[in-house]
């Protein structure tokens, strides 16, 4: 506790004395280092310089609080007294810094009553920079040390620090934006709070109209979204089940290639399938052209709208359903089916009375997953939607379109959020009650029965054409990047590739270089942060006990259910003004990547943690190790493969994401996915595909490298040892 307090105080003090407090226009690279000039520069000065040379007295806490913490750590005093001082310095310092940040903005006092209280304010302040971010973070760690000293978190400073830091991060980067967004929905166009504003917008006919049932051209976007979601959920579940049954029970030699197919949607930018559909069924698509030249039938624009979006999403999300359902089918205990067959049931009876009912919770889970994915998808609807609006795209157009109606965007986001959360909770309840899927492999040595002939035929009829279609779609979509002009001139060319990635005279003159390099850089920065936070949170939630853990875990998981579009709008709203003025910087994109992908890393981390016997941690505790020792020496080495997977996954997801970041990019920080979407919207398909192909290749290389690395270290074998010991023992 004392060491943790000492280090956090030192860190805070160093940051307050040396690092620029405010965000600087030109970045930290331009800092006037010579002669220590930055220490008193009005732009670059750290907290100390701001206080002493710029007269910004409200930054005193940034100096005093670490000082107090340092004194408490160094002076001899009883444990309880030191803990109180840490608590006081950390808590009060952090609190005062937050208060000043929100009280004094770009126009001086941020509220009239503050001026009445303190007198007029001549000064103004902009968003916080390195110093302004690091000092509060270190003070939070000091607060954690104090809490541990008071006996919270079982007196373990490491656990306390991890818990407080994660809680703070979730509060700032997930809860705060969503709460501000919620507030926006209650404001009218002028920005004043008006409870009626929300209901006025909610009652909008564009949301709820059912006119299309009566023959009108379109329905409300809420119905569109829900209808599409149900169709996609049902479709992907059916297709995924057919594939899963065939692979696990179908006695086919297709397992390996099919499993590879499931990697594709992970590395594919989300709108590439939409693009492929345009190249096939669009007005100059090969099928449409063939139809008109062979049969004289004009197929027209049918692909733009519900059919197109539905098809694209089915292609995109079926592999996800497959991935879920293959786990469920493999998890079925063959013993139950063997029991059924020894009780004189035919294979068909067994399938209907045992297998299918056991699969039901898994099917419902896959359906809800498809529903949520469809709702959150932005790329396909924006490419193929046409007049068929869904919530994700409507929100986008409310923000960037001619209407620029922040209140409407907030309201639509709320509706989308409510739908997503509803589905998420339903799904959570289902997975919590998965009691009769028997995973664990304890003495389940039975042989899975083959599929009944009829079921097998049906699965083959559904799955094989679909698999061929998927492959054809990918092949066509990719080849679109290597012909002159799709639909008119099919001469093979590398023109698009060169246009995107030209290097002439040692200069990267290609159009896409900038965005691809930005994407890779930001993804590479965010991936380790995501993985580290995810593993730390997974350890915290599965291995420690403290008050408020349930709430924190819930809040972390909650951001899993928030659609990307909503997050994008919320970030834009929350980080546009001081003190957290991140909009337009790479930092906001990194933060968005990290907190969008954190729940995924958390889930896989928790799954991996469940494989490790908790008595290993306990053994470390009884042998004199603190929380940090158990984490660093026992859990981390055993989790190495999971960490690797988390890293790669975070990287890949960051590279392919579009829905959230499309609101956050600027000319300086354009991402490759945004670049591609803009080319698609302009009809420049060749260039878009060329860039997408390079992205996919890059990600496949990453995945392959990771596979190789994990394989070579042979950690897998060692990890597999852990459960084997227990099981071997239990059998003996």
């Amino acid at each position: 506790m004392r060491a943790a307090g000492l280090w956090s105080s030192l860190l805070a003090l160093a940051a307050a004395l040396l690092l620029p407090w405010y965000l600087t226009q030109d970045g930290i690279a331009q800092m006037p280092v010579a002669g220590l000039a930055w220490l008193s520069d009005p732009d670059y000065a750290p907290a100390a310089g701001q206080v002493f040379t710029q007269g910004r007295w409200w930054l005193w806490p940034a100096l005093l609080a670490p000082g107090l913490g340092l004194l408490a750590a160094l002076l001899p005093m009883p444990r309880a007294g030191r803990a109180w001082l840490f608590l006081l310095a950390g808590g009060l310092g952090l609190g005062l810094l937050v208060v000043q940040g929100y009280a004094i903005g770009v126009q001086g006092w941020s509220a009239p009553w503050l001026e009445g209280l303190f007198g007029p304010m001549e000064d103004r302040q902009f968003g916080v920079g390195w110093g302004g971010a690091l000092v509060p973070a270190a003070l939070a760690a000091l607060l954690a040390a104090g809490l541990a000293g008071r006996g919270a978190f079982r007196g373990d400073a490491f656990t306390a620090t991890v818990a407080v830091c994660i809680a703070l991060a979730i509060a700032v980067f997930t809860a705060l934006p969503l709460i501000l967004l919620l507030g926006d929905a209650f404001r009218d166009a002028g920005g004043a709070v008006a409870a009626g504003a929300l209901f006025g917008r909610l009652a909008d006919d564009r949301l709820w109209s059912l006119a299309c049932l009566a023959g009108a051209p379109r329905c409300g976007v809420v119905w569109n979204t829900a209808f599409l979601g149900v169709l996609v959920g049902a479709g992907t579940t059916a297709l995924g089940l057919a594939f899963a049954l065939l692979v696990v029970r179908g006695r086919l030699r297709l397992g390996r290639p099919l499993r590879w197919l499931t990697v594709l949607p992970i590395v594919t930018p989300p709108f590439i399938l939409g693009l492929g559909l345009i190249l096939i069924f669009g007005r100059s698509g090969i099928v449409s052209l063939a139809a008109s030249s062979l049969f004289g039938i004009e197929l027209g624009r049918w692909i733009y709208g519900l059919p197109g979006v539905l098809l694209a999403q089915l292609f995109a999300f079926t592999p996800i359903a497959f991935l879920v359902l293959i786990g469920v089918v493999e998890g079925l205990s063959p013993t139950l089916e063997e029991a059924s067959s020894t009780l004189r049931a035919t294979p068909r009876d067994t399938f209907q009375t045992v297998t299918l009912p056991l699969l039901l919770p898994g099917l419902a889970n896959a359906f809800l997953l498809g529903f949520v994915e469809s709702m959150a998808d932005f790329g396909n609807p924006v490419v193929l939607g046409g007049q068929f609006g869904v919530l994700a795209t409507e929100i986008f157009f409310a923000v960037v379109g001619a209407q620029a109606d922040a209140g409407r965007a907030a309201t639509l986001s709320l509706v989308l959020l409510a739908m997503a959360l509803g589905a998420f909770f339903l799904q959570n309840r289902l997975t919590a009650r998965k009691s009769y899927v028997s995973i664990g492999g304890k003495g389940d040595a039975g042989l899975a029965p083959p599929l009944p002939a009829g079921v097998r035929r049906l699965c083959l009829m559904v799955a094989l054409p679909w698999a061929c279609l998927t492959i054809a779609l990918y092949v066509l979509a990719i080849s679109g990047g290597f012909v002159e002009v799709w639909g008119r001139d099919y001469t093979p060319t590398l023109r698009h590739m060169i246009k995107a990635f030209e290097i002439s005279g040692g200069q990267l003159t290609g159009l896409a270089w900038n965005s691809v390099i930005t994407t890779v850089t930001l993804a590479a920065i965010s991936a380790p942060i995501t993985a580290a936070l995810g593993i730390a949170a997974a350890w915290l939630f599965s291995r420690t006990r403290f008050a408020g853990k349930g709430v924190l875990e819930f809040a972390t998981m909650l951001s899993f259910a928030v659609p990307g579009t909503v997050i994008g709008v919320a970030y834009l709203r929350a980080f546009n003004l001081p003190p957290l003025e991140l909009a337009g910087t790479g930092a906001i994109i990194v933060a968005c990547f990290v907190f969008r992908n954190l729940p995924v890393g958390l889930r896989s981390g928790m799954a991996a943690m469940a494989q490790i016997d908790p008595s290993l941690d306990e053994a470390s505790h009884t042998l004199g190790g603190g929380g940090g020792d158990a984490f660093r020496r026992v859990v981390l080495p055993l989790l190495r493969p999971a960490i690797m997977a988390g890293l790669v996954y975070a990287f890949v997801r960051a590279m392919t994401t579009i829905s959230a970041v499309i609101f956050l990019v600027t000319a300086d920080t354009e991402l490759a996915t945004v670049f591609i979407v803009n080319r698609v919207i302009n009809g420049d398909y060749g260039l878009a595909i060329a860039v997408a192909v390079v992205l996919i290749a890059l990600m496949l290389v990453m995945l392959g490298l990771a596979q190789l690395l994990v394989g070579r270290r042979r950690i897998g074998r060692r990890l597999a040892v852990a459960p084997a010991i227990q099981q071997g023992g239990a059998v003996a």
């Binding site: 053994a619 084997a724 003996a732």
Partner: protein, 358 residues
């Protein structure tokens, strides 16, 4: 090792959530340097009790004292206690030596010193030469010894065992329990040992604490528990017992006359009042006699008879109920339906309160 410390529980409660009490107002003392067993069926609270000594659980109420120091709120690392886990909990990614040295490594001892102590500990459990192996490359018994060595290397004042032998086969179990007892006597360390196997508990303990449904049912030496159980539960859990309904009449000098059917016996009354009571009768303490033998106190017919090599297990139907007898296999096997007599004396018989505690 003269640092052995006394372990004391002072009115300790442990509640998990609402309405679930794992340990209810438990107080006991384990004298320094002795081996004490916590014995009981699964779910009786014995493992929770052990984990509270280790610091892996904290009491909801009451105090835990080790060597006179109140450790109730201290984390495991500050308790000078080591534990051997049921699953051994060997770190699968570390070699045997790294496992054994772990405690020294995390307390920042110099590497060389740690390795030396680790080797010595491995030698003391007979595993010299296995330092570089991974736990997965050892047999169950060897893994168990590594776990013991790892716990010993810190020279703790209290050593805890959580059902350490339950993952071993019967033959190895017997050998390991002798080794543990021998080690404890050699080092003079305080050991608290959890098991549900009464034979194991009887064989190695200085003192046994029998737990049932979150409370202590009885504590004492193995002999105390076997010869004078205070309740039907203890009589049935520590060894086997026939429970025969009897009538009790107090005599002078702490004795009582006990009648069951025709049988009459004089036993210490153990504070029981006159009237209905129960007699716990050990199967081994009953002699199988001829039907007309004058020493027979009960008579009946053989219902079941099983030959087990050294002994015979015979169930006899008598007017006071079925009586289970284990007797040496001398003489022939009685057949089903034979008339036999049963003889018993004060040895192996104990009075229990009638009807209660069934």
């Amino acid at each position: 090792m003269s640092r052995a410390a006394e372990v004391r529980f002072d009115h300790v409660w442990k509640r998990f959530g609402a309405g679930s009490t794992a340990v209810r107002d438990v107080s006991f003392t384990v004298p320094a340097g002795t081996l004490c067993t916590l014995l009981g069926p699964s779910g009786c609270g014995k493992t929770t009790t052990l984990r509270m000594i280790a610091g892996l659980e904290y009491p909801s109420e009451g105090r835990v004292l080790i060597g006179g120091r109140d450790v109730s709120a201290l984390p495991p690392a500050e308790r000078d206690v080591s534990m051997v886990f049921q699953s051994y909990a060997l770190f699968p990614h570390m070699t045997v030596l790294e496992n054994v040295c772990y405690g020294l490594t995390v307390s920042r001892r110099p590497k060389r010193e740690a390795a030396e102590a680790g080797r010595a500990a491995l030698e003391s459990v007979g595993l010299a030469g296995f330092e570089a192996r991974l736990p997965s490359e050892l047999s169950g018994g060897q893994q168990q010894r590594v776990a013991v060595a790892r716990a010993l290397v810190l020279e703790p004042s209290v050593l805890l065992f959580d059902e350490p032998l339950s993952n071993l086969d019967a033959r190895l179990r017997r050998k390991m329990r002798e080794e543990i007892r021998e080690l404890q006597q050699r080092l003079g360390v305080t050991v608290v040992y959890v098991t549900h196997d009464q034979a194991e508990a009887l064989a190695i303990s200085d003192k046994i604490i029998v737990m049932n449904q979150a409370v202590i049912a009885q504590e004492g030496t193995p002999q105390d528990l076997y010869e004078s159980p205070v309740s039907a539960f203890v009589a049935g859990f520590v060894g086997e017992a026939n429970r025969i309904p009897v009538t009790l009449r107090r005599l002078d000098g702490g004795m009582a006359e006990v009648t069951a059917g025709d049988a009459r016996l004089v036993l210490p009354h153990r504070g029981l009042p006159d009237g209905a009571a129960e007699l716990a009768l050990r199967p081994e303490a009953i002699a199988l006699l001829g039907a007309s033998d004058p020493a027979a106190m009960l008579r009946g017919k053989v219902l079941k008879a099983a030959y087990l090599g050294g002994v015979r297990e015979i169930t006899v139907g008598t007017p006071v109920g079925e009586v289970f007898v284990v007797s040496p296999s001398t003489g022939g096997m009685p057949a089903q339906g034979d008339d036999v007599g049963l003889g018993f004396g004060r040895h192996g018989a104990a009075l229990l309160p009638g009807g209660a505690g069934a």
